[in-house]
Symmetry: C3
């Protein structure tokens, strides 16, 4: 059985980290599937998806890691060609990755207690985002 | 239902980025599955898979990011032991990751308009590559 | 059909890299599924999962890459708030990612000869870990 749903997000961009765990759990609970995978995918080329312990200190640390490692203030050929100023956003998103797959058993996701599912929006402006949540199994 | 296909690629190595979106869409169109996931996996330990806006500026930016961040011109123990000179290729590939899962609904992949599926070949020579495309669903 | 199993690991932390390929192959062999995916997920927010050529030189190279790129010896707000000293472990884990999906066909995983499945434990102490192995298909 396959159930495909969408999550709509309002992000502030600039590395904004949005916890979608409650919504994913809600979507899973609404299905009649008890054993299988939840596939998460963020549509767009300037955002990614991962897991993190969702607490303010770590959110700040993750954001600074990107600033320190994949610099925004160097020349990007993407910006020279298109003038969007978000070359670094694309590069960060491609490195982080757009998909995440989480198995569940007896309706319970394999997540740890301090492990939340997050969308990271690297774009250089506020954006409306869509993520797909697909539940597949028995 | 599960359909497993292969994509054969000729890469130039050295961070070559190959757009496999048209081939993935073609493989999906040929199946009778309308709702499910496409699982992509690149075989080999010096290549990875991700999504990117496939335009020349950004391809150059993504390539330079790897050069800047995971240096090729430092000593690697892998190279000392095996003499392949591709220690950096392995490290980059392990960081990027070998798999990507994209949900589709009514035959339409969750990709954004400017979001293509790419294999990134980090090896230090031209290579023939195989990627697996597996379509699963109803 | 969906089969969900767990792998228990004892890790030394500090970037310890554990090859789970033999165990994954064993779990797959025990099922009656011949075509489908193996979904791997590591529970916890200070470990990740990827593929690598599992040889001592490269394991050392991968470990040094993390030391060089995502520094442990800088201030982390997570550490200031919680005193765990593992802010860098969390950040590395979120970047690497917690899930990996490998297609198989006729019981044979799409892995290359020199491509093993590994759990990377970034925590700053030895830990018992659980990974989920879920086999789905026909």
């Amino acid at each position: 059985m396959v159930i495909t749903k969408k999550i709509s997000l309002e992000s502030k961009g600039h590395g904004d980290i949005i916890d979608i765990t409650p919504e994913v759990k809600r979507q899973l609970a609404e299905t009649e599937i008890s054993e299988g995978t939840v596939t998460l995918f963020v549509t767009g080329s300037t955002a990614g998806i991962t897991t993190i312990e969702f607490e303010p200190g770590l959110l700040a640390d993750f954001k600074s890691m990107w600033e320190r490692t994949i610099h925004a203030d160097i020349p990007y050929q993407h910006d020279r060609a298109w003038g969007d100023g978000n070359g670094h956003s694309h590069v960060r998103a491609s490195l982080l990755g757009a998909s995440l797959v989480i198995p569940f058993s007896r309706k319970s996701l394999a997540l740890g207690t301090w492990q939340q599912i997050v969308v990271v929006d690297f774009d250089n402006r506020a954006r409306s985002r869509q993520s797909v949540v697909q539940v597949m199994g028995d």
